[in-house]
């Protein structure tokens, strides 16, 4: 399939896990019935983005209620589903994990956030994910019948190496569930998504929770989809909403024929190598 429609569900996340799961399910169904073949949820869509909540809301795979719902709805709607991310419990560890489902509801990919968000911004915002979370150690590229998708989560987007490696692994699209905040969001969110698309000549999708000023951590919103030349083809504002984008995979080849960046890499002078055991 060279063309398909995707949807990003920019939902408000509350401190009621059950309500978050219900809201996600409703929005996925709405998106599917609008014709989306791939539906994407935001980072930590079932849990407030706060260290105090991650251990409380964490669940184990495959029996956790969130993954169960995602699997069920993907199968019912016969869609591909990238389940934003949730706190995933594995033994003593908790990860910030994105599960990817096929049309039968089967998990075909799982990305554990590689780069933990440990920062102390000048505006007073401090966050130390590593207080409660462990980091993943695998790159995640998933084959679907729609396209090949790389998955990264939020702060992972800060590291161009990861996106180049995904492009070299022939990802057509990179999906980034991410909850940038009111400092980093206005400063960097859109420009980062645009230039990762431009550098690697892929589709980029940023999926944020909706903005909620009453939350302990205020997400920026502004979910968006960028095509391989860097143009925005869908963009949310800050409110709870679903955005849709028509993806045309031929656009990737067209842009790469015009500006053959990947062919012009000077691998005689530099090279990004993947290391470790990750696939």
């Amino acid at each position: 399939m060279r063309r398909f429609k995707l949807a990003v569900c920019q939902m408000i996340v509350t401190d009621d896990k059950k309500k978050n799961i219900e809201k996600a399910e409703q929005m996925i169904k709405t998106a599917s019935r609008e014709g989306a073949d791939l539906v994407i949820l935001p980072e930590m869509f079932n849990c407030p983005y706060l260290n105090s909540f991650f251990p409380l809301f964490a669940e184990s795979f495959p029996n956790g209620e969130t993954v169960q719902m995602l699997s069920k709805v993907a199968e019912e709607e016969k869609i591909y589903l990238i389940g934003g991310s949730i706190p995933e419990k594995d033994g003593e560890d908790i990860y910030n994990t994105s599960f990817v489902f096929d049309r039968e509801g089967k998990v075909i990919g799982k990305h554990r956030k590689i780069h933990l968000f440990d920062v102390d911004l000048d505006t007073g915002l401090s966050f130390h994910e590593s207080d409660t979370l462990s980091s993943g150690s695998s790159l995640t590229v998933v084959d679907t019948e729609l396209c090949r998708v790389g998955v990264a989560i939020c702060y992972d987007m800060r590291f161009p190496e990861l996106f180049r490696l995904y492009a070299l692994k022939e990802a057509d699209m990179i999906v980034v569930p991410g909850a940038f905040n009111m400092t980093t969001g206005p400063a960097h969110w859109e420009a980062l998504l645009r230039i990762r698309a431009v550098d690697n000549q892929v589709y980029m999708v940023g999926a944020s929770p909706a903005r909620d000023y009453s939350a302990g951590y205020v997400a920026y919103g502004n979910s968006l989809v960028v095509e391989p030349w860097g143009n925005l083809i869908a963009k949310a504002d800050e409110s709870e909403t679903i955005i849709y984008a028509d993806i045309d995979l031929d656009r990737i080849n067209k842009v790469r024929n015009e500006l053959p960046l990947l062919k012009h890499l000077r691998t005689d002078l530099y090279e990004i190598r993947q290391k470790g055991l990750s696939k």
Copy 2:
């Protein structure tokens, strides 16, 4: 020195080499007298950006008239000077080369454009630098008393690997003489400069020729200076002009303390390696 002032001379380039050299000299002197300690010229400031002109205007180092002028004016004004770029003849080869001068007029750095601009844009713009030019094979980081400067030329900016390597070599600032055009300029120039600054938490300087609609290749203009958080601190429009920026090296440390990107690199999972013989 933790603070200094730089200038970018966004000059109009004509098909009269002598006039180009005179114009550059005037603008450098003006910038110096306004207090700039580092003056930067655009890509191909002495030569129209066209393959038909490169062989005609090319000159050898160190006796070419352009380099002689640059050396003399750097010494007279006691400034650091990054001489944009010029077509440099070396045996049978011609390179797109940037010469860097210290306050005594001595050449302390030389960057030959690594990535040649060979593209066929949808708008009808085709350019094949490799028809006349050879590519460089060295990374260029120069120590000055002001700061450590990386140099890249125009299309080099498309490759994030190069900028990461410069940051890892502890460059404080990366200077990019570049003549983006009226297709790539509006689409990518500012966002690329901003995100290279944001990713690597360095100062970025883009130095373009002024826009001249009568030229065979119309440069975008919009020279600009970005600080390490991604804010523009100086920006030209399209006209012939000099822009100035106050550089504060402590800003680099401040941003890196807030958002420790270089410390958070997962070098256990990926690594950019420099290869080949370049320093």
